[in-house]
């Protein structure tokens, strides 16, 4: 364990350092609440402001920026089914069903408690086990990283449902996610592929934030708009209660927390795998070893504990390899190293030998910020849970504006907004057809790791794939892959048996209320198949090293889609070829057109004006056509207050953003494709 803890302690508690920590926490908490923005984005945005700060306050500022979103990122997962960032995606599996049952308070309280304990656990384990981590890094090479990626991808089969069709669609979703990740530059050569004629925007492929915002936020907002439910919690009342119950739940299931945190810490110690994998692995492992797997996904505390414990432990643990080797294990790690460089530290393997206090300041700052945020979270669950009682239709403009604002901030490219809304409209169809957005995103997140480690193992193994299966550490991980697959099969069988016995609803039905999508699903499956075949045809023309992995993923995905198609056809036949529902209704059509028009308006009118106009139109149309028609005068009042409130918010945001506000206020058209 490195020294320097005393210097760190005295430095970390000086007034300016504490103030910067608080400021970082405040900004971090807000970034966490906005879908698509995470600690990483916060750090990237505010890194420039640290030029000229002293090192300790700057580090404390970053600790707050990274620490605070850990809990707040889970909040939207639970109350809105829109994860704050991919590491919170699996939290929604059980957190959102809890919220729909009116247990948002309890779920939030579990998330806060698990975040805190997971963070502390990750810190303690890593600091205690630093020597082991050092030797681990020598063992984990491309072969092991590939096996780990496959292990994490195996979890896709768990996050999908227990029906055969759900299972097939879950795997196909993961395959599609991998394929989307292959769009853009092929690492092995550094030249683009599958880029749809783009040499600008799509050169580097589809970015995480627009994809993520599309399939989660925009698609979910569409559903809010179209669903007939009055609010997330629907008829269930009470939302905010159950705080103490949540804390008790977490301690009661301490084994699950411990296992989740251990998985998280282990993954955090390995560069390049990341919190999304930890989150899913922990969830599926917990589900697989449960005596009652069918309950997962229906809204049980265990699901939230497993995921939040894991992603927080992963977060904490990843600081150590980043600082010890100067090798960033994640985007967040890269930004911490960037901060240190700006501060004049030499990053690399000697950083902690020369400046051990750096590690301690980050540890102290992170623990304090997570502690404070979790306690604040516990205290404010009542208020946060109220969101689940808000009328869904009125959440639509607000959530959409903030999700797109987040996308804009993160990517600085108007194409990202077009992409997010485009993916969102397709994503709504995708979700309504019973495909899994969570599996799509984990496939996407692991796509490059899978391909690059596979190719690297071949290249550094002297042009042979043997090392993938002959290295002892890789073998150990392969055993885990097989174990997880066997457990998956067993728990699926057990789950089906139990569901039949006790008539537990299929978790699919809980997650997708009222979905009977046969014809739409059939059409979507065909579209997905066309996309897959399009990439396969292109991959056929690529040189071996560039096209091999896309082909290896593309063919099975196409096969799964064909199987899914067959299952859907036989289901339709068994129901006597029910005709597609003809009366879609005017409202869904309006919502889709409105969303598309909104993004076009952003391009030409600028974000602020477009958002204000779109929100005003939405409120007016909703109020004029809704169940309770509103008198013209009140309608006008409503539209004007909405528009003014939004305009003031956005203009103030922009005015004070120090860079002038011409860009947000005026649209500039699209940058080069």
């Amino acid at each position: 364990m490195p020294g320097g803890i005393l210097e760190a302690l005295s430095g970390a508690f000086e007034l300016d350092a504490v103030l910067m920590l608080l400021l970082g926490m405040l900004l971090g908490a807000v970034t966490g609440f906005i879908p698509g923005l995470s600690g990483v984005t916060g750090m990237a945005i505010f890194l420039p402001f640290t030029v000229g700060m002293d090192p300790f306050p700057a580090l404390m500022f970053f600790a707050g920026l990274g620490g605070a979103p850990r809990f707040t990122g889970a909040v939207t997962s639970i109350v809105l089914n829109i994860p704050g960032s991919p590491v919170n995606a699996a939290t929604a599996f059980d957190g959102y069903p809890m919220a729909r049952r009116g247990e948002a308070g309890r779920a939030l309280s579990i998330a806060a408690t698990s975040s805190l304990l997971g963070t502390v656990f990750g810190m303690v384990v890593l600091l205690a086990a630093m020597p082991v981590v050092f030797s681990l890094l020598d063992v984990i090479g491309p072969a092991e990283l590939f096996a780990l990626a496959v292990l994490a991808l195996t979890t896709i089969s768990f996050s999908s449902t227990n029906t055969l069709q759900g299972f097939v669609r879950g795997l196909a979703s993961g395959g599609l996610g991998l394929l989307v990740a292959f769009i853009g530059v092929a690492t092995v050569t550094g030249r683009p592929r599958f880029n749809f004629g783009s040499d600008g925007y799509l050169f580097d492929g589809i970015q995480l934030v627009p994809l993520f915002i599309g399939v989660f936020a925009v698609a979910q907002v569409m559903r809010f708009a179209i669903d007939r439910d009055p609010s997330v919690a629907g008829a269930a009342q009470g939302g905010g209660s159950g705080v103490l119950q949540g804390v008790r739940d977490t301690f009661e299931h301490w084994r699950i927390l411990l296992r989740g945190s251990t998985i998280g810490a282990a993954i955090g110690a390995m560069p390049g795998v990341g919190g999304t994998a930890a989150n899913f692995l922990s969830y599926s492992w917990t589900k697989a070893t449960s005596r009652d797997p069918a309950r997962y996904g229906t809204g049980i505390p265990e699901g939230v504990i497993a995921t939040e414990g894991a992603n927080n432990a992963e977060h904490s643990a990843s600081i150590v390899p980043t600082l010890s080797f100067g090798i960033p294990g994640s985007a967040e790690g890269a930004l911490i190293l960037g901060l240190l460089t700006l501060q004049g530290y030499i990053t690399g393997p000697l950083l902690l030998v020369n400046n051990p206090d750096v590690l301690w300041v980050l540890v102290i700052g992170t623990v304090i910020s997570v502690l404070v945020i979790s306690l604040l979270g516990l205290a404010s669950t009542g208020a946060l849970a109220k969101v689940t009682l808000l009328p869904l239709r009125y959440l639509v403009p607000g959530v959409l504006v903030f999700a797109l604002l987040g996308t804009y901030v993160a990517g600085t490219n108007v194409w990202d907004l077009v992409m997010a809304v485009g993916i969102g409209l397709v994503g709504f169809w995708f979700v309504a057809s019973g495909f899994s957005p969570a599996s799509l995103v984990i496939g996407y997140v692991l796509g490059r790791l899978t391909e690059d480690s596979f190719v690297l193992a071949y290249q550094s193994g002297g042009g042979s794939y043997a090392s993938l299966f002959t290295r002892p550490a890789a073998l150990v991980i392969w055993v885990a892959v097989i174990a997880l697959a066997v457990l998956a099969a067993r728990s699926a069988a057990r789950g089906r048996r139990q569901r039949r016995m006790r008539s537990i609803p299929d978790s699919d039905a809980v997650r997708e209320p009222g979905a009977d999508p046969s014809w739409a699903a059939l059409a979507f499956t065909l579209v997905a198949l066309a996309f897959t075949l399009h990439l396969l045809v292109q991959a056929g023309d690529l040189p071996t090293r560039v096209g091999l992995v896309p082909r290896a993923i593309g063919w099975p995905t196409a096969l799964l889609l064909v199987v899914s198609l067959g299952l859907e056809l036989s289901r339709l036949r068994s129901r006597g070829w029910q005709r597609p529902v003809t009366s879609i209704g005017a409202w869904p059509v309006f919502v889709v057109l409105w969303t598309a028009a909104y993004v076009v308006a952003i391009v030409f009118l600028g974000f602020t004006l477009a958002s204000v106009t779109a929100a005003g139109i939405y409120v007016a149309v909703e109020a004029a056509t809704g169940d309770q028609r509103v008198a013209t005068r009140r309608l006008l009042l409503r539209v004007v207050t909405t528009a003014v409130a939004l305009a003031v918010t956005l203009v103030v945001l922009d005015l004070v953003s120090l860079g002038g506000f011409e860009g947000l206020l005026f649209g500039g058209g699209l940058p080069p494709w």
Partner: protein, 370 residues
């Protein structure tokens, strides 16, 4: 592309908080300056900056610092960094720009914008297409773009046609290194061997360096190119997944000190201050030119000469400040300023060297993909 500036800078999430932050940052700044003052450093104090301002405004009265025939920026200036926040390019740019602010006229600020993507090409495109009014300047990934135009004859960006050079920030030579596991300790041992050479893809500077050195030193490359970033490459190197690769001196110094890597050849003309005993291009027959990372500041072609001269002057002054020297000293990131003419000459040299090995580079490139 005026807007790109505020994309990055701007749009802070919580407006009021950003203000508080700025205020705090300001306070910190003053503290830092105060500390420097105590240490006897007053080079970066306001009076000097005021002098420069007046000099620029009057045009000739005290024009020994700024004599750019009257041109000076009449509005905010956008400085494009072609990579994201947190990397070496970002750190260098921000430090140099920060040091340059004090020499600008009152009310004029340089706003930094990270325009990342496509290995620096998106930033270069943005700079290239900006109005040539002298109000958009930026860092150019010189070596990377030289590689791109070597591999692809029809490359859209042509370094010397599309940009005018203002000044270079570094003259950091790429360094050929061996991993400790390879057992290689000198370039004499390389001849006739088949060695695993690590690179960030095949359109990267180290790949071209590998091709050139393979030709001149007589070894065969077995390419290991699927590394996504320098961090991945370095962890692969310390683990022994590769035998050789090449990176800038500052990126490998600590790994050499820690015993993980062995520097074999510095691709500069003079011995490196960090690795004084390691041979340079002068010691190898057939290497006519160094391979340097200049991190040049450029402007789109067509900017009036007066504006170029103005910026050259500003940045050369900025790079001579003690605050920059102090940062460079602490962070181990060397600043070695070069003027516009020298930058031009160096960039030409690199393009020429690579073009000389163009056929081999393209041939090996195809090999990697197969």
């Amino acid at each position: 592309m005026r807007g790109a500036r505020r994309y990055t800078r701007g749009l802070s999430l919580v407006a009021a908080l950003a203000l508080v932050l700025a205020a705090c940052g300001g306070t910190e700044n003053e503290d830092a300056t105060g500390a420097e003052e105590e240490a006897g450093t007053d080079d970066a104090e306001d009076p000097d900056a005021d002098d420069a301002d007046e000099g620029a405004a009057d045009g000739d009265a005290e024009g020994e610092t700024v004599d750019a025939a009257g041109w000076e920026p009449d509005g905010d200036v956008e400085f494009i960094i072609p990579f994201g926040p947190g990397g070496g390019f970002d750190a260098y740019s921000r430090q140099v720009v920060e040091a340059a602010q004090q020499f600008l006229p009152d009310g004029v600020r340089i706003e930094v914008a990270n325009v990342e993507g496509a290995g620096g090409a998106v930033g270069a495109q943005t700079l290239r297409r900006a109005d040539p009014d002298g109000l958009t300047i930026g860092l150019v990934y010189d070596v990377g773009l030289a590689v791109a135009q070597t591999i692809d004859d029809a490359a859209e960006i042509q370094l010397n046609e599309d940009f005018s050079w203002i000044a270079g920030i570094t003259q950091e030579p790429y360094t050929l290194f061996a991993t400790a596991d390879s057992g290689i300790t000198s370039i004499e041992e390389l001849g006739g061997q088949e060695l695993r050479f690590g690179a960030l893809g095949a359109a990267s500077p180290m790949f071209v360096v590998g091709v050139i050195l393979g030709e001149t030193l007589g070894f065969d490359n077995q390419w290991v190119t699927a590394y996504g970033g320098a961090g991945d490459l370095l962890s692969g190197a310390t683990r022994g997944d590769i035998d050789l690769s090449a990176l800038e001196v500052s990126s490998i110094a600590q790994y050499v000190e820690a015993g993980d890597l062995v520097p074999l050849l510095v691709l500069g003309e003079e011995p490196s201050a960090v690795f004084p005993d390691v041979p340079t291009v002068q010691d190898v027959d057939g290497l006519d030119s160094p391979v340097l990372s200049m991190r040049p500041i450029g402007a789109p072609a067509g900017v009036p000469q007066e504006a170029l001269d103005y910026w050259e002057d500003i940045f050369l002054q900025a790079m001579a400040t003690e605050e920059l020297a102090a940062w460079s000293e602490e962070s181990g990131r060397t600043v070695a300023a070069s003027d516009a003419a020298e930058t031009q000459q160096r960039v030409d040299g690199a393009i020429e060297l690579m073009a000389g090995f163009g056929d081999q580079v393209r041939e090996q490139y195809e090999l990697v993909a197969e």
